[in-house]
């Protein structure tokens, strides 16, 4: 394909930030069915613009990933909240435990409550909230998340387990 070299040349001009966002976007794209790509595009795009609009230049890749994950959390939670999903949320219990959470509607209903719990967790330990944002909202792997936070993967695994347990307890006790 003759235009390939041109595209490559253009890609080299793209600042590193595009690469990062593109990678995040691509991760979402892979999971989407054709015809639904618009939503993912819109999300990543909106996340990007919030970053750009926030007026805080990202210092490095890790800093950037942090704010991108934060933006995604805000956007997704806002949307879930706007749909009035909170009303349907009745808390976690032993029955709804794990399987039901896999379904989108329940997750949708859970998001606002999760967000509030996460805010409380953040007051206790900001690092915990960042782990959840990177793993759950931005979809980063263990290694990447550990790298972004500057801790070892083994430590990250333990702290991620703590965050999940803490949030799970918070949501179970909420009625």
């Amino acid at each position: 394909m003759p235009s390939n070299s041109k595209e490559q040349a253009a890609d080299q001009l793209i600042p590193a930030v595009y690469h990062e966002l593109r990678r995040l976007a691509a991760a979402y794209m892979r999971r989407e069915r054709p015809g639904q790509t618009l939503q993912a595009t819109a999300l990543v795009h909106e996340a990007f613009l919030r970053l750009a609009g926030a007026g805080q230049p990202w210092k490095d890749r890790n800093h950037f990933l942090g704010i991108a994950a934060r933006s995604m959390r805000q956007i997704l939670v806002e949307r879930a909240r706007a749909r009035g999903a909170q009303k349907r949320w009745a808390g976690l219990d032993r029955v709804s435990l794990t399987e039901s959470l896999v379904r989108g509607a329940d997750e949708d209903a859970m998001l606002p409550a999760l967000d509030e719990a996460l805010t409380r967790l953040e007051q206790l330990d900001p690092e915990q909230a960042r782990i959840v944002e990177l793993r759950y909202f931005a979809g980063l792997g263990i290694e990447e998340t550990a790298d972004a936070l500057g801790i070892s993967p083994a430590t990250l695994k333990r702290r991620w387990a703590l965050a999940r347990a803490w949030l799970f307890r918070e949501l179970s006790e909420r009625r």
């Binding site: 001009l13 593109r22 976007a25 999971r31 993912a40 595009t41 794990t98 347990a165 799970f168």
Partner: protein, 495 residues
């Protein structure tokens, strides 16, 4: 001990406990908590919950993004009624919400009902903005723009009721892989530019022009949909700014560079989108195509598109020139508005002596045929009157003379009009006006004279008599009924 210290001890104990064999856990906890009952209870409960977390949070939320971002609060089924509307069926699902075909009982017509997603209608300021937009959009009436009827609040949800357009979107045509002929391309470019020009003239910018928003109706017309995202480009001081700078709507792939950067946009952003859209439609290739939408956005900002003629050689030069100019990075290098595009598309076509677009050219052919048929009929009428004069001399001689003279005069004028249309097109309108009265009088004289001759002949030769009367009535009717519409359609195809 403050909360921070407590948390750190909980954390460290929890993490250490994960490594302990479960049998010895209780005694280990007793030992490690050092008699702090609150600490022990906290860690114990976290460990309990830890064992039950299952898949909680393990799958990133993005995996179900489509449901989270696009899911509506509710869907409507055929037969559901909302206010005076009855849902016929769902006809589409856009980035903003579902679209239904519904019948409106009040006016007995079909409308398209677009459900606005709750996140857009959530707070009062958004609702106000939508109302302003709907009002602005409803002010637009143009054959190339899908008319917005109303913003309806039905059962607590907001809907935009608009004209129902039956046809296929340009996206559908693109996906079908069929490329338009050069003539079709020119036709669509012209219609689209005219529609945009109309909106821009009224201070309304689409902002989200894309193949999904352009419909081709079954009779070959172009309709721009979804002025739902358009807003007045002239700031309304009383209402406050309708768009915060930095807020982005729309699809990145058709956004102008300034729009991607979150700057304020005007009609020239639509001009850019017009260029991208037609480029893609003509070639089947996006001018800034790349693997992911963000890479597309980056290329829009930073790289130049391959000139369209290098991708497809048979694009009409005027169209190619227009598209390339629309894709300029700097707004100032593009056309000011849709009207500018329309003028640029028309100019070179005119100088070649034709009319732009397929429909006007077809009308011109019909109009020319009409003129030649009329001239032919004058001959037939004169010959018939000559024959009647031979059969039954007397007053018929005068009738023959009248028909021959009128036929000659009208024939000369009609020939002159065809000549003007072929050779000196710009003068055609004024010549048509000049000739209108002459041909009208001549045709009426011929019609009446034929009818009179027919009546005189009726007693002796009934068959030629009926023929003459029929021909007379026919000539008169064609002049009074048919010709005004063919001429008007030809002179002003957009009317």
């Amino acid at each position: 001990m403050n909360a921070g210290d407590h948390w750190r001890r909980v954390r460290d104990l929890f993490e250490a406990a994960l490594e302990q064999p479960s049998g010895a856990l209780e005694s280990w906890l007793d030992r490690e908590s050092g008699g702090d009952q609150q600490l022990r209870a906290d860690v114990r409960s976290l460990l309990d919950h830890h064992r039950r977390t299952g898949s909680f949070l393990l799958e990133p939320v993005g995996n179900r993004m489509a449901e989270l971002m696009g899911g509506d609060a509710r869907t409507l089924q055929p037969g559901d009624t909302l206010g005076s509307y009855t849902i016929v069926r769902e006809v589409g699902r856009g980035g903003m919400g579902r679209v239904y075909l519904a019948s409106d009982a009040r006016l007995g017509r079909n409308v398209a009902l677009k459900a606005l997603p709750p996140e857009l209608t959530f707070d009062a300021s958004h609702r106000d903005r939508l109302r302003r937009e709907a009002r602005a959009a409803a002010a637009l009436t143009h054959p190339g723009i899908c008319t917005v009827y109303a913003l309806e609040e039905l059962d607590g949800d907001l809907f935009i009721a608009s004209e129902y357009v039956d046809g296929a979107t340009l996206r559908y045509q693109l996906d079908s892989g069929r490329r338009p002929s050069p003539a079709d391309l020119a036709h669509i470019a012209g219609e689209l530019a005219a529609a945009l020009g109309h909106a821009h003239h009224h201070g309304i910018v689409h902002r989200d022009l894309k193949p999904d928003n352009v419909m081709m109706t079954s009779d070959g017309r172009v309709k721009v949909l979804d002025f739902g995202l358009a807003r007045l480009s002239t700031p309304d001081a009383a209402a406050g700014p309708v768009t915060q700078p930095g807020t982005i709507f729309g699809t990145p792939a058709y956004m102008a560079p300034e729009q991607l950067q979150g700057d304020t946009v005007d009609a020239r952003a639509d001009v850019f989108a017009f260029g991208v859209l037609l480029y893609e439609y003509a070639c089947g290739v996006h001018p800034f195509g790349a693997a992911t939408p963000l890479a597309v956005a980056a290329r829009i900002l930073e790289s130049e598109a391959t000139p369209i003629v290098e991708r497809r050689a048979d694009v009409p030069p005027a169209v190619a020139e227009v598209i390339d100019r629309c894709l300029s990075k700097a707004p100032a290098d593009r056309f000011e508005s849709g009207a500018g595009i329309a003028r640029a598309l028309e100019r070179p076509e005119r100088s070649r002596g034709g009319h732009s677009g397929g429909a006007p050219r077809r009308l011109a052919t019909w109009w020319r045929t009409h003129q030649f048929v009329a001239i032919g009929l004058y001959f037939v009428a004169s010959s018939l009157c000559w024959q009647i004069k031979e059969w039954q001399p007397g007053v018929t001689t005068a009738i023959f003379v009248a028909v021959a003279v009128a036929g000659t005069v009208a024939g000369v004028f009609r020939g002159h009009l065809v000549f003007t249309e072929r050779v000196n097109d710009p003068r055609l309108a004024s010549e048509l006006q000049r000739a209108a009265l002459v041909t009208l009088l001549a045709d009426l004289v011929i019609g009446l004279a034929l009818a009179a001759a027919g009546l005189l002949l009726a007693s002796t030769r009934p068959v030629p008599a009926v023929l003459a009367i029929a021909l007379g009535v026919g000539v008169g009717l064609v002049r009074l009924v048919v010709e005004p519409s063919t001429t008007a359609g030809f002179m002003n195809p957009k009317a």
